[in-house]
Symmetry: D2
Subunit: 349 residues, 4 copies
């Protein structure tokens, strides 16, 4: 019963096979491997963007921060949700890689940036001429850090605001595919179709070993990205092993299959929890992650049974068995019905 | 016949097996995987350094530049050879990660820093008080970028100079094990035994997929290193797959076996070339890399036969079949006698 | 009638005289001028800190940001009020000079950081281990950007919170002396007496041409500060002309005299406005700056008469003569009673 | 007898008068002062560049490093002489302000970059694709750090090389006017006339208190420069006092008059030294600075008489009275014939 994070799950066997297959003989390093040629075309096809520049890096923080360094000048401020991964979980990497840009935090009650709050935040910058930071890119996380999913129309609203101020847009898609299958739209529709300029197209949380694709719909930024990637030490010599993961991911719709599995598992978990007395689901789960609270006694039973997940508010230790504690539960592609049902049974007690 | 680089060779099967084995079930992310616990002890044992802080990153540039950022203040200058990887091949990553430190280049005719030149270089800095950069760490590449290997006594001479000025020392060990088996000494002897403070202990060029261990003999710098690694986006969520590579590498002396294979292949290639008329070996090959020159006609024959390697001076295109062109030839663990002998035959013509 | 800013006022004649006097003959550059020797002792005496390291720079942003870069590591976050100058008016200089540190914004309804909010903010960081920023220094502006002044006990409360987490503290004293004369305490009491580690001791806004002293109560940080100052291009060759300003400033209590003048002028302005119908003073003016609102018609009269000041909310243009617009009014040492009274008369209409 | 540096001399009385005159009443801050409007036009006229963007900063390091940060990307390398001020005397400020760019050092035996060496240096970069730094701007010091002056044709040769690679060019003109009056050409001829893109037009070493003008012939870079200046803390609130200095400097040809005085003094000193037995002038003095060597005994006599200057090689202490020691002698506008003659007499003994 592991629901701590989708970044702790196993790699899909097809990805391992692809790695083994890629291991034959020599391959030119640093992205000149032939598999990368294939992957570039696969990504362009998936995004219906034949001109897009496509790169692979090994961590989501690298994808996000190198893109943002390419989009933002050092004297600008990046707009993001108050709970964005780039703000809370990258130890200042965007600030570092941009050369000291700021982040302007936008309220996002359920993980989704409030459009009015975004507008106010943007209006609030560049009011002091040279003294304050200038307006930089808007970064949107899809699916959000709260497990919610922006609808296409919600995305469009945010991006139209950004565009009306001439700003660039970035999508942090660490759980891109979970959002995509949830919306049932195409990758193009969820990105450049609504005005996204660059995407961190995550794979690690969805069955890969450690690969995120960077997709720049404006190829003019490609060379700058390459130089920034290299000087951030994120250009891999044995690059074929990044390529091989992404190749397997995009072959025979494996990426969609894995996200569908994770989402389906999460839906089962959500349904089960909803039928559990005293359990409260906190946001509208749209992908593969739920925030929910139930009484301490349930958490205690789970803990004793070895379940792994994070308690976000409150502490397991405590006297009152009825006090509600909030948990975050994440399902990856390998979550089993058996474990989910057992988990629910333990919550019920 | 591939001699372009050891970073283009395959991963050893035992490493692939270790990855597959590590793939079972869930594992806590970001270095909290149980395999990392084992690896930490393995590395400490290999280096006979029970207190050392041990970390894994995926590229040599990351290992070098994050260590140097930990050792050097932004207002310092790092001393290294004029042809050091950190100067020539990291696109300014050390300058970036340190926040703008300088590199002072030291002559190194055969890849090894000249001790007198190092002394002069160190003396030449900090002569201008607050106006010039201050003296920072000395970074030594072992084996060197010219394929030569410092003897222990040569290392000691350089490091004693550094230490006499109170400077820290770093070893870029992208080809650490190739040097080690060449010298026939222990990892301890080649590092802290001669006064090295921190090592980039390379694995990628010696049969891994993409892992370098960072070994800090002074554990006081450990937490700073962790923060710098994270904010440079080099902390991996599915870290077990880095751990698994290093685990296999250090089990049953695989690391030594692979470097021995590469060095032996290189020695065979060197011997063959030496017996070839009109061929000149440029430096004393100590590890798995040779720089040599022979007439254009030989290069042309190799090229027509599909051999892959870099020509460092001169161009394949040209009228004079007798003009000598300089090549760099690198052997990895998977180089075969057959290919080497065929290569030599083609040089001979 | 100029109330736009105290940074637009003239230099006091004694300061000009001191500059002229300092101009005789040659003087060693870069802070080795003999006047600096005197100034260092004057500052130490004023602050009753015989061991303090004392430096001069020419802008407040330089003083603040170089101090903060000395106090904060790149992976830390600096705590400051939501309207702090270092956040709003330095175009990201602290982020730049620290190498990418973050700023955590603390609510400060009347310009003063709320202690509970500070505590919550500090508690909110370092909850994510290596993933989030670490706790860095707390920066306090005295007098605040809203013209209010922390009492000694308010300062102590904030600093005790900072100290309980082991954090360093910085005082942005662009209007240091205005606060000091307002409180009627000593410089020592307002700084290290309550636990401040480093001060930007402003002079420019209080009658100098362009000098701020940096006072580091911990001299261990002195050399690092000097190097950071130099490499930020803030070490002046003809440094004697910075020294000469500060010398005049601290001679015969000129600094106190000037701040007293500015504060007195501001009190007169405040009194006058309070007696004006429909005028509202927004914060408790403690120094030389007021935020107040009155009807548009009054602003229109002032504008027509050539008065200069900033309207902070609302716009002069508009139909409704009764709509209140908020102004910021700053008095410098050279403000005259005549202009103040005339200003008040125009508000009254 | 002060020949240590022209940055230690007094401010010209006309400049002090201009400061006093500028001190009346209030003036809008941050470069919005009316004097700056005049200065901008004066500078444009002097440089015959009606479209140029013109800014003032207070130190030469600020002028150089902010310009270079505007011209160079972080992944580029700046080409300069091995003894350039930006390399030796700015404590890494260009590296810091650019975000980690490199400096490629070019041989310059007499202070002037050797064109062949520049070409070789430029050719030597960008040979490693994304792995090495990319070619950035070329920075030329006029007059040089050795007191020599590039002829217009020498400048043109260097700049043509830079332009043939598409590189930008910067002139470090800390002693701009000394070079200008030496060549007897116009400011336009010495800058954009030969292809310079941006100039640090020094004033501090030539009679100002602390002002350097930045002249960007390409106004497209103006706004970026302004933001970089601000976030480096080099935008002055009481900017009128920078403007006032530059205004006096450019009025009635004061700048030319002062440089002529300094150069004439230096020529007298050179002539005198040349007629002194055992004295050797090391470079061809073209401006206001000489490097010369003469026996220790002469240095000892000067030292005893209180002369101030730097000994660059050798030490005053020593047994052999005949050993030659090398001195650097700099004349500023206020150097007197009397002191020069007395100096020469002491060298003669």
């Amino acid at each position: 019963m592991f629901f701590a994070s989708d970044n702790a799950g196993p790699v899909h066997p097809k990805v391992m096979e692809s790695l083994v297959k890629a291991n034959a003989d020599y391959a030119m390093p640093y992205g000149s491997d032939p598999i990368m040629g294939t992957v570039r075309e696969q990504v362009r096809e998936v995004f219906e963007a034949p001109e897009a520049a496509v790169y692979l890096v090994a961590t989501g923080t690298a994808a996000n921060s190198i893109i943002l360094a390419t989009q933002a000048n050092p004297w600008e401020t990046i707009f993001c949700s108050r709970i964005a991964h780039i703000h809370e979980d990258e130890c200042g990497c965007p600030e570092f890689f941009t050369g000291g840009a700021k982040l302007t935090l936008v309220d996002a009650p359920d993980g989704k940036m409030d459009p009015d709050a975004l507008k106010v935040a943007i209006e609030g910058e560049e009011t002091r001429g040279v003294h304050g930071p200038q307006r930089g890119p808007v970064s949107i996380t899809q699916a959000t850090e709260k497990g919610t999913v922006y609808s296409l129309s919600e995305l469009k609203t945010l991006i139209n605001i950004a565009k009306s101020y001439g700003q660039k847009t970035h999508m942090d898609g660490a759980r891109f595919t979970n959002a995509l299958v949830s919306l049932g739209c195409s990758a193009a529709e969820m990105t450049w179709g609504v005005g996204i300029d660059a995407v961190s197209f995550g794979g690690t949380k969805n069955g890969l070993m450690g690969v995120e694709a960077v997709v720049l719909f404006d190829p003019d930024q490609a060379w700058e990205f390459e130089l920034r990637r290299k000087r951030a030490a994120h250009l891999f010599s044995k690059h074929r092993f990044l390529s091989a993961q992404m190749q397997a991911y995009l072959t025979d719709d494996l990426w969609l299959e894995l996200a569908t599995k994770a989402n389906t598992a999460c839906a089962r978990l959500t349904r089960g929890l909803k039928q559990t007395p005293d359990t409260k689901i906190l946001f509208e789960p749209g992908a593969n992650m739920i925030f929910a609270e139930w009484p301490r006694a349930g958490h205690q039973r789970l803990h004793d049974a070895g379940a792994q997940y994070y308690i976000y508010s409150g502490a397991l230790e405590g006297d009152d068995p009825d006090e509600p504690l909030m948990a975050r539960l994440v399902c990856d592609w390998s979550a089993t019905d058996e474990n989910i049902d057992r988990f629910i049974d333990l919550v019920k007690g």
